[in-house]
Amino acid sequence: MSHNIPPDRHYDGERHLWAHATDGARVVVGIDALGLESLGDLAYVKLVEPGTPVKRGDAIGTLEAAKMTSPVVAPASGVVAARNDAALRDPSIVNRDPYGDGWLVAIDATDWAADADHLVHGDAIGPWVDAEVERYRTEGWLE
């Protein structure tokens, strides 16, 4: 499970968030499997309201697991077009299906091409995942 990092997405390498341009400039955002491995079972999810303008790097939500709270940081500038109300009611959806039903927000990005350059993508994903998995193993979080 922890190695499940789909190659068709862009990743915030520090925060372990994924971004997926699905329909023109609409970018769906979620947390990746390694981020969930680090946090554990989510107890609560808070996300900003649709219609909120955001800049890349802004906090657009907060996740809580095992008494740790951690921000969801916008990987793209634009306007929040939608949020996953089902995940707000039942955060376990995010743990069960982080790349599908467990998505968090969708952003209508104003300049996705520029924002995407700041994220890990394409051929860079493999080496990044290898390094992260090795780090998790070293720290005892993966067998």
């Binding site: 107890a43 808070k46 008494k67 740790m68 709270t69 951690s70 707000l88 009611r89 955060p91 720290e139």
Partner: protein, 369 residues
């Protein structure tokens, strides 16, 4: 011997801070932690009730009792359950960088790592505590300190610990929402079997200042740093005042709600060694608190440890089995009267019976039938 070449952390001591000001200072220190790691050791003015980041205040706190008894209410930036803080509870706030060199700090590792300062400090006081599960420090299965962590969006990392030097259990039961119909010696005893304090463990009236110095030394030893006494500068004081004014002193912060439903349920399972009765308080698909009772024979501390390990635990069979098996492996014969499979069955049956409720999670949901 003091290592003059060791990295320096600032140490700030505070006492009798208000809830809003205390939380605002911690957040301000976290924002500046990349520049100056700070260990703050402080007490709140007696008393305040602090709920976890996403808890519903009216589910966790008896607001009218708080008003009657002059207990302030506020919301922490860190997760977890409601706590009562005052002159006999030492607050620990470690504000540090969110990265260790060029590597981001791993969330769950951070909780365990930072707890070592608390454990080392308690050991110096003769209290044999250890990190339990994911986020508690316990002595023989009884919780002596709660831990929390927050990674603010604007940088830094904030580790919180609340160390019970002493605890007014009747007051806690009065101001935190519990399903107890009345607070008698029995209810107090129930809580005291699951929580301990530094004074109780030592059998003396050790001062909060002595605990504070021991915890400071524990962090210095555990992290190989030198602590320099300090205070916030003028810019930090201004920033903290703004955070207090704009966040922690506002109803908008304190009265937040989430869409996750709280619930309570109960179930009993008969085994060859007796009946296991489980009462459960849940938040969505997580257990907030599990109370285990019955006519089986088991060590009180083992039951307390088991209940502690099941707090904020997913209500899923495989995960429950792994956790309960691990506790069984630790306690052995002291827990043999509570077969793992039967206990997991009872917890899941209690979850199945769960109905919406407005009860909080700090104490066990005794009395819910």
């Amino acid at each position: 011997m003091i290592d003059r070449g060791a990295p320096v952390w600032r140490r700030i001591d505070d006492d009798r801070v208000t809830a809003a000001a205390g939380l605002a200072v911690d957040e301000t220190l976290a924002r500046g932690a990349e520049r100056m790691p700070t260990l703050r050791l402080y007490t709140y003015a007696s008393h305040c009730a602090l709920v976890g980041r996403f808890q519903a205040v009216e589910h966790e706190v008896d607001v009218s009792a708080c008003v009657r008894r002059g207990v302030a209410i506020n919301r922490r930036p860190t997760g977890g359950g409601a706590i009562l803080m005052g002159a006999d509870q030492l607050g620990v706030a470690l504000a540090c960088a969110a990265a260790d060199g060029d590597r981001p700090v791993h969330a769950r590792d951070a909780m365990r790592r930072f707890s070592t300062g608390v454990v080392a400090g308690l050991a110096a006081l003769g209290v044999d505590a250890s990190f339990r599960g994911k986020n508690d420090v316990a002595v023989g299965g009884r919780k002596v300190a709660g831990l929390g962590l927050c990674r603010p969006a604007r940088g830094g990392l904030l580790f919180h610990a609340s160390i019970l030097v002493d605890l007014d259990v009747p007051l806690m039961l009065d101001v935190l929402r519990t399903p107890f119909a009345a607070i008698t010696a029995r209810e107090v005893a129930l809580v005291e079997r699951r929580i301990t304090t530094v004074r109780r463990e030592r059998g003396d009236a050790v001062s909060v200042n002595a605990v504070r110095d021991a915890i400071a030394a524990g962090f210095a030893d555990a992290f190989g740093v030198r602590l320099e006494p300090g205070a916030m500068d003028a810019a930090e004081r201004d920033a903290a005042a703004a955070v207090e004014r704009e966040r922690y002193a506002t109803d908008a912060w304190v009265d937040q709600r989430t869409d996750v439903s709280d619930g309570v349920g109960h179930a009993s399972v008969r085994t060859a060694s007796g009946t296991i009765a489980v009462r459960l308080a849940s938040a969505g698909r997580l257990a907030k608190a599990v109370h285990i009772d019955g006519d089986f024979v088991a060590h009180d501390s083992a039951i307390a440890d088991l209940e502690g390990r099941l707090r904020w635990h997913p209500l899923e069979r495989d995960a429950l089995v792994r956790t309960v098996d691990a506790v069984h492996a630790q306690w052995g014969a002291d827990l043999s009267g509570v077969p793992a499979e039967a206990l997991v069955d009872a917890v899941l049956a209690a979850a199945e019976s769960s109905a919406p409720s407005t009860y909080g999670c700090f104490v066990n949901p005794e009395g819910v039938r």
